[in-house]
Each structure stands twice: as structure tokens, then as C-alpha cells.
């Protein structure tokens, strides 16, 4: 009996463990291997060393994708965190109807990026969306055609992504705010600190772990952003909103350059790992301390 109890958890977990081992980690290894081969349309196994990586970084296209990722990633993470924190602080003022307002902000997260992208494509389209609406209302000088402008199109991706995710970040911060010990705040109030000062000097610094979690969640969403870009701009105008994920798909599956595609996938994985591993490390370390 005792024996069975000891083995039961392992038995139950074994199938999913095995499936993940094969379909995630084995395929990561396989992709890594492919990135060193001369695979074009189908996988092939001629070893070419780092040739695919050299080629990858000489491609103007990949540079565009990296620059776009940098613009998108930074703005997305910063704006989402700032907006999420602000909303959370405002909601935390013990206002009436919080239970009603909170889900409204959180709801966009329930939509898939495809839906968000398609909806925002229509909002932002000058012919049918916001610009057209204002023109019909009589404000004919109103001008908002970023989605059609190759220099600004990447910012429309930021707008749609922020709309989608900031409510979720708000929920994370709200949970963090609710976890702050009331005694500390009361002590500060007795000492005569203003609410702004309390937030700035006491509460926000105490939320460091929440910032870290939000950063990790948002950063990996940014790196793997694919569906939103495809639905919103299709990578255009021209190739102006190409990001690494769309690059990976097009090189692997439509351009018959599987080797280059695999190497870009590996670079993206390295990016994700370089965010996740320090995070896990710090989490595990602080766990040990407690």
C-alpha cells in the first residue's frame, strides 16, 4: 500500500512527462540539429556548421525583424506595465463597483490575438475605421493612417497588443497591491506620509516581484508574437512589420529555407531562455532562503 502511494504520482505524471519530453524538448533538439544542416524544402542531414547562422545575420530581413522586435518589445512591456500599474492603483482606491469594472479591463485577455488583430485592423483602417468615423462626424482634417505607413505600422501593433494585455497586467498588480500589509501603510499614514509618497516609497518598491513576473510574461509574449502581426498587418506594408516569429514561419515553410528558418527559431529560443533562466534562478534562490 505504502509502496503504491509512493509510485502513484509518478505513474500518473509519466505519460504527460514523456509526451512533453518528446514533443517539446526532443523537437527543440531536432530544430537545433536542423539549423546546422542544409535543409531546404524537407529536412535533410548534410552538415554545414554555422553557415545558416552567418546567412541569417546577413539578411536585411532578419535585421528588420530584430529592430521591430526591439521597438515592439520595449514599448509593449513598458506601456503595459505602466498602464497596468496605474489602473491597479486607481482600482485599489476602494471604489464602488470594482467587481464590475475589473472584468471589463481584464476581458480583452480572453480574446485571441487573431480577434484582437482583426478588430484593430478595422479600427485603424483609414477607409472604414476611426479616421473615417471622424470624417463623417465633420472633423475632416483628422488624420490617422499609421497602419498604412511603413514607418509607423509597428506602433499600431503595439497599440493593439497593449489593449489586449494591460488588463491582465493590472490584475497581477492588483493582486500584489492587495497583498501589501495594511499595518505598514497605517504606520506610514500615522507618520503623516501623503498617499503619493506612500505609493512611491513603500508600496511600489514592495511590488518588485510582481514587476518581475509581469516582465517575464510580457517579454515572452513579445518574442513569440505572430498571430497578432499576421492578423493586423500581415507583416506589411511591404515587409515593415516583420518580426522574428513571422520570419521563422516564412523561411521554414514558404521559402524552402528550412535551415535558415530553424536557426532563427533557435535564436528566438535563446532570447526566451535568456529571460526565463535568470528569472527561474532568482525565484528558486529566494525560495531556498525562505
Amino acid at each position: 500500500m505504502n509502496h503504491l502511494q509512493q509510485w502513484l504520482p509518478r505513474l500518473v505524471l509519466a505519460p504527460s512527462f514523456f509526451v512533453i519530453l518528446v514533443f517539446v524538448y526532443a523537437f527543440i533538439l531536432y530544430t537545433g540539429y536542423l539549423s546546422f544542416t542544409d535543409s531546404r524544402m524537407l529536412p535533410s542531414y548534410g552538415w554545414v556548421g554555422f553557415e545558416n547562422y552567418t546567412k541569417l545575420f546577413s539578411l536585411r530581413h532578419w535585421n528588420t525583424a530584430l529592430v521591430n522586435l526591439a521597438i515592439f518589445g520595449v514599448l509593449y512591456i513598458v506601456i503595459c506595465s505602466a498602464l497596468g500599474l496605474l489602473l491597479a492603483i486607481l482600482l485599489d482606491q476602494k471604489i464602488r463597483g470594482e467587481g464590475f469594472i475589473r472584468p471589463i479591463y481584464l476581458y480583452p485577455m480572453a480574446l485571441s490575438f487573431i480577434v484582437t488583430g482583426t478588430a484593430w485592423k478595422w479600427f485603424l483602417d483609414p477607409g472604414i475605421g476611426i479616421e473615417n468615423t471622424f470624417h463623417n462626424l465633420g472633423w475632416t482634417s483628422f488624420h490617422f493612417d499609421w497602419i498604412k505607413d511603413r514607418n509607423y505600422a509597428i506602433y499600431t501593433v503595439v497599440i493593439a497588443a497593449v489593449w489586449q494585455s494591460s488588463g491582465f497586467v493590472m490584475a497581477m498588480f492588483l493582486a500584489g497591491l492587495r497583498g501589501v500589509d495594511n499595518e505598514i501603510i497605517k504606520a506610514a499614514q500615522i507618520d503623516g506620509a501623503s498617499p503619493v509618497r506612500i505609493y512611491r516609497k513603500i508600496i511600489i518598491p514592495m511590488m518588485r516581484p510582481v514587476f518581475l513576473s509581469a516582465f517575464v510574461v510580457l517579454a515572452h509574449l513579445a518574442i513569440k508574437a505572430y498571430d497578432l502581426v499576421i492578423a493586423l498587418t500581415g507583416g506589411g506594408p511591404g515587409r515593415a512589420t516583420e518580426v522574428p516569429a513571422t520570419f521563422m514561419y516564412s523561411y521554414t515553410f514558404t521559402r524552402n529555407q528550412m535551415g535558415v528558418g530553424a536557426s532563427s527559431a533557435i535564436i528566438m529560443m535563446i532570447m526566451v531562455f535568456s529571460i526565463i533562466i535568470p528569472y527561474l534562478y532568482s525565484e528558486l534562490k529566494s525560495g531556498d532562503n525562505q
Partner: protein
């Protein structure tokens, strides 16, 4: 990203799992992307023909124009050792498959018996044959260097169908003055490239061949290519500002509704006009891109047979049915394309279809029949997409014409 890969392979696996039922020896399992109403109806002709010969049809439609999704599924199936009997393919995809896997069926016996070599133009045989053996049966020929003009808008702009680049510009200018969008266009890379095909061919067929088929660096970066890019920039000035990302059929709708004057698009656009009850010659006019009269850039859908221990009886029956003049006529009347055989009577076709068939025959006879770069019939997918990158970047104003020509050389070199 790994998760996405996983999701992709998982969904591919589901598709495979749901579609694999054991095909009997006398069944053909056909992978294709003809899912639109008219196309599906046209395929029924083929199904019924095969049914009368006791060959069953297992349909495996993968929706998605251009067939990218279908090719992804096909890859998964072939990698998994479970190839379909036949698959719809385009241009260089056929060559890539033949060159990479080598396990395609051999249709020589039926091709010889029915004399395919005499009726299929050599430019098409280039794709239907590998190492001198027939591996595919061509179904249709689309040509891409068409211009579709709203008749009313043309009449208001002088009424004369443009025959040269200068006349085209004059008509476009007149349309602009009349207050409509002269050129309906959708800003997607393949649509930009479709126009580029015609523009380059219009400058000179030699340039087209040297640049896109022979991939000659001097032609790709030469003076004439700079001029071709200049012409693209000129055409850009006639497109409305809201064009990027627009689907081609919406651009056709602009011409049909009279909001725009013309569209430069392959003959599949005709279907949109016919669906809107427009009559060729009365409501709309179809002309070859000015300067490319008598020449044709084509793309051709073909059914490629996968090896099943030599070609099976069912495969040979299917290939024979695909090549029968009755099917070629029935299918292409619906599809808007022209038959892949040059000996099919044009009685059932409308005016544009008749013109298309005549042009096709003329181009074939005079050596003016070229595979379309924009549609994967002039060079492999990697090169094609590299050219797309440059053409679309230039069309969206990222490069000037001189830089674009230089970038074109570098891009093609990098993708070879």
C-alpha cells in the same frame, strides 16, 4: 516559439489523422486547394469521370489560395511516409519535389499513348516532366499579364484601349482627372510582384528571361531594371493611399463598382467580374498589359502523382481524365483560365477566354510564353520571395529605383 512549432505539427498531425483512411487500390486520394464554389464544382466533373471508370475519389481539400497551407500539409505527410496519390502543385514546387524526394509517379505510358507531347506547350512540359519523364498532368494555364478595365471609366477617359506604356499613362492620367482611383491594387507582396512581372515583360522579353529565368546579375541590376522600377513608382502614384493589405478581389470590386478604373491581375480576376453579372466587352474590357501583346506570363496548376510502386492503374486513369479535352474545357470555363492543351476548341469560352486562348497559342508559337515570376514559375520559391521583398519594399517607398535594382542583385544572389 517551440510551443508554436508543436502546435503546428500537432495540427498537421490531426489533419493527417482525420484524413487517413485506408485507400483501396482503385482509389485516388487527391490533395488540392480548390475549395471555392466554382472550382469545387469543376472538380466534380473529374470525380464523375473517374467514378464511371470505377476509380473512387478521396477528397483532401486544404483551403488557402496559393496553396501554402496545402504544401505544409503535404510536407508533413511525405515526411511521415504517407504521401497522397496525387497533389495539386504549382511550377517550381513540382521541380523542388521531384528534385528533393525523387519518388514521384511516372506517367510516360499514358502520355505516350495519348500524345501529350504534341499538345502541351514546351514551356509547360518544363514543369510536367522531370529527367525526361512525365510526372504531372497540367490542368490549366492562368496568365498573369492582364489588365481589367471598367468600360465606362475607359470611355470617359477617351475610350481607346491603351497599347503602349505611354498610352496607358495617358489613360491613367485621364481617369485621375475624372476623379476616380485610376488603379485598383492591393498592397500584398504577390500582387506587387504580379504587376512587376508585366512591367518587366513590357520593357523587353529578353530582360524578363535574363533577369527572372536565367537570374543573370547584369540584367537584374541593369539600366532596364532601373527603368522597370521607375515604372513601378509611376504606377504607385495612381493607387489610392489605403491600398496596403487589401485583398485582390476587393480591388476587383473597386473596378466593378466604378470607384477605380482598372486592375492589373491574372485571369482569375475575371471570375469576380462574371459573378457580379458583368459582360466582357460591355461592362468591362480585358486587355494584355500594354507592351506585352502576344506574350504571356503563365502559371499552371498541375496534378503531381506520387510513387506507389510505379504508377498505379488509378493514377494513370486520373492523369488521362485530367488531360481529356472535355474536362480541360469544362474546368477552365469555370475557373477563368485556359486549357493546358492547345487543341481544345474555344466554343464554350467567353470573349476574354477566347482571347486568352488565342494569345496563349500565339505566344507558344512565337516563343513569347514565359513562366510567371510572381507565381513561382520562373525561379524557386526562395528566389521568388527574395524578389518579392525588394519589389514590395520599393513599391512602398523604402528604396529608390537605383537602390532597388542593386538590392535585387544582392537578394537573388543570397537566395540562390
Amino acid at each position: 516559439m517551440k510551443m508554436r512549432n508543436l502546435a503546428l505539427s500537432a495540427s498537421a498531425a490531426t489533419i493527417i489523422a482525420s484524413s487517413v483512411s485506408i485507400a483501396s487500390a482503385e482509389d485516388v486520394e487527391v490533395l488540392h486547394w480548390w475549395t471555392a464554389g466554382g472550382e469545387a464544382a469543376a472538380l466534380n466533373v473529374l470525380k464523375e469521370d473517374l467514378a464511371s471508370q470505377n476509380v473512387g475519389w478521396k477528397d483532401m481539400p486544404i483551403a488557402g489560395g496559393g496553396g501554402n497551407d496545402a504544401m505544409t500539409v503535404l510536407r508533413a505527410r511525405v515526411t511521415g511516409g504517407n504521401a497522397p496519390t496525387a497533389a495539386q502543385m504549382l511550377g517550381f514546387d513540382i521541380k523542388d519535389w521531384a528534385g528533393t524526394t525523387g519518388n514521384l509517379g511516372n506517367l510516360d505510358s499514358v502520355a505516350e499513348k495519348e500524345g501529350w507531347s504534341d499538345v502541351v506547350p514546351a514551356a509547360l512540359q518544363e514543369f510536367s516532366k522531370h529527367d525526361g519523364h512525365w510526372i504531372a498532368a497540367p490542368v490549366n494555364v492562368h496568365s498573369t499579364n492582364w489588365v481589367w478595365i471598367n468600360k465606362e471609366a475607359l470611355d470617359a477617359a477617351g475610350g481607346k484601349e491603351p497599347e503602349t506604356w505611354e498610352e496607358l499613362i495617358a489613360v491613367l492620367d485621364a481617369m485621375k482627372e475624372n476623379g476616380i482611383t485610376p488603379l485598383a491594387h492591393g498592397g500584398q507582396a504577390w500582387q506587387d510582384a504580379t504587376i512587376f512581372d508585366a512591367v518587366v515583360l513590357g520593357i523587353s522579353p529578353e530582360l524578363y528571361k535574363a533577369a527572372f529565368i536565367d537570374l543573370d546579375g547584369e540584367a537584374l541590376g541593369g539600366e532596364q531594371m532601373v527603368e522597370a522600377f521607375d515604372r513601378m513608382a509611376k504606377l504607385r502614384t495612381y493607387v489610392d493611399d489605403n491600398f496596403s493589405g487589401r485583398d485582390w478581389n476587393l480591388a476587383s470590386a473597386m473596378v466593378i463598382e466604378g470607384k477605380a478604373g482598372m486592375q492589373m491581375m491574372g485571369d482569375w480576376a475575371k471570375g469576380e467580374f462574371l459573378k457580379a453579372d458583368q459582360v466582357p466587352g460591355e461592362d468591362f474590357v480585358c486587355i494584355r498589359f500594354p507592351g506585352t501583346q502576344g506574350k504571356v506570363t503563365f502559371n499552371s496548376d498541375q496534378f503531381v502523382m506520387f510513387d506507389q510502386g510505379g504508377a498505379s492503374e488509378a493514377q494513370l486513369a486520373m492523369a488521362s481524365a485530367v488531360m481529356s479535352p472535355a474536362f480541360q474545357s469544362a474546368f477552365n470555363v469555370v475557373k477563368g483560365s485556359v486549357p493546358a492543351r492547345t487543341d481544345v476548341p474555344d466554343t464554350d469560352f467567353d470573349d476574354c477566354g477566347k482571347k486568352g486562348m488565342a494569345d496563349f497559342a500565339e505566344a507558344n508559337a512565337s516563343g513569347g510564353l514565359y513562366g510567371s515570376m510572381a507565381h513561382g514559375h520562373a525561379n524557386p520559391a526562395g528566389v521568388k520571395n527574395a524578389i518579392y521583398d525588394v519589389v514590395t519594399a520599393h513599391f512602398n517607398g523604402e528604396y529608390d529605383s537605383q537602390t532597388a535594382a542593386e538590392e535585387l542583385v544582392a537578394a537573388v544572389e543570397g537566395a540562390k
